[in-house]
Amino acid sequence: MGDIIVLIISCIFVNNILLAQFLGNCPFLGTSKKLETALGMAMAVIFVLVMAGAITWIVQYFILDKFKLEYLQTIAFILVIASLVQFVEMFLKKSIPGLYAGLGIFLPLITTNCAVFGVCIINMKEGYGFLETLVSSFAYAAGFGLALILFAGVRERIILARVPKPLQDTSIGLITAGVLALAFMGFKGMV
């Protein structure tokens, strides 16, 4: 149990997928201009990443490893994620239209969200068991969501400030993200 808590803290704060591992920056900058979109994206990533983590784990250990096809990891994982996103989209549209209305527009973006793919690979690299994979996927996604929501809050305010013209939009977004990364370094050594 203690290990799991350490893993969660490590994935959310210390090794935050966005700010310490640089994964998922395109949607990070793209969907953080408004708090509502950031919330939607965060939920969508959590939702998909937990499922993707579980399925890629199964694919890795029951297919790739079994048949000595480890070198197909990249292609297998990306296909799993892409079809999972498609499937989730169709499923939500039919069964939970309310949730689909909220997450719908973010789902296609997730296929090219390197955080999702990256976490799946990290899980395998670290050799996590199934439970650990689930926990780490969720925690990484939560860390992504947390950083995204915090960033969106700050960014909403920056948009209103008198930022010099050449710095506006992405440029100031990156600088602010840098400060976020700096702040998250404060969690270093906590696990």
Binding site: D65, Y71, L72, I75, G189
Partner: protein, 198 residues
């Protein structure tokens, strides 16, 4: 319906072609990659920790693998001193500040004491943790200590002086050496058997 068939056919063909291409590439590159790993990660360390061994030039070729169960295995490099395979080296891993950290441990088969250790893979923060690889202070402390015990840095109540400003890395090295000891304990009979052949 025709569309549907076409879609399936195209995708299947693409996937099949990709599979063939990659398995071909895999076969061709696998031995190259293994040599690269050896040359880049383990060889530099082996060179330093076995610098007095007789078989320095051939020890890579003399390596052998021991099965640890669970699909894991460990590669053992035997070191020959005065014509006798007196020591073996193998790698143990742990996690440091910025990712995996590997420690090559050379151990005397007679006394179970460490001949030397060296850090192999390290992605530690430049300037801090990476000193574990570059500076011998930490590694030298292990020389001559019995491997069959657990190690920890002084801050945690052990005997090892941590590198200033890189406590996490120093701890990771201790953890790796400790786990090397456990591995060693379990596979020593097999090692002894195999080295006889040399």
């Amino acid at each position: 319906m025709n569309d549907m068939v076409k879609m399936v056919v195209v995708l299947t063909l693409l996937a099949a072609a990709s599979g063939f291409l990659l398995s071909f590439a895999e076969q061709k590159t696998a031995p190259l990659i293994e040599m690269q790993v050896l040359n880049n990660e383990q060889w530099p360390t082996l060179q330093t920790i076995f610098k007095d061994a007789d078989n320095l030039d051939t020890l890579v070729d003399q390596r052998f693998k021991i099965d640890l169960g669970d699909d894991e295995n460990v590669t053992i490099f035997p070191g020959v001193y005065n014509g006798e395979p007196k020591a073996v080296a193998f790698e143990a891993k742990s996690t440091g500040f910025g990712g995996p950290l590997g420690v090559m441990v050379a151990v005397n088969l007679d006394t179970d004491e460490m001949v030397a250790i060296g850090v192999t893979v390290s992605q530690e923060t430049p300037g801090f943790g990476s000193r574990a690889k570059d500076e011998p202070d930490l590694a030298n402390q292990f020389k001559g200590l019995g491997l069959l015990q657990s190690f920890s840095v002084k801050a945690d109540g052990g005997d090892i002086d941590a590198i200033t400003g890189a406590t996490v890395t120093s701890r990771a090295v201790c953890a790796a050496v400790t786990s090397a000891g456990e591995t060693y304990k379990s596979i020593k009979p097999e090692i002894l058997e195999k080295v006889k052949a040399i």
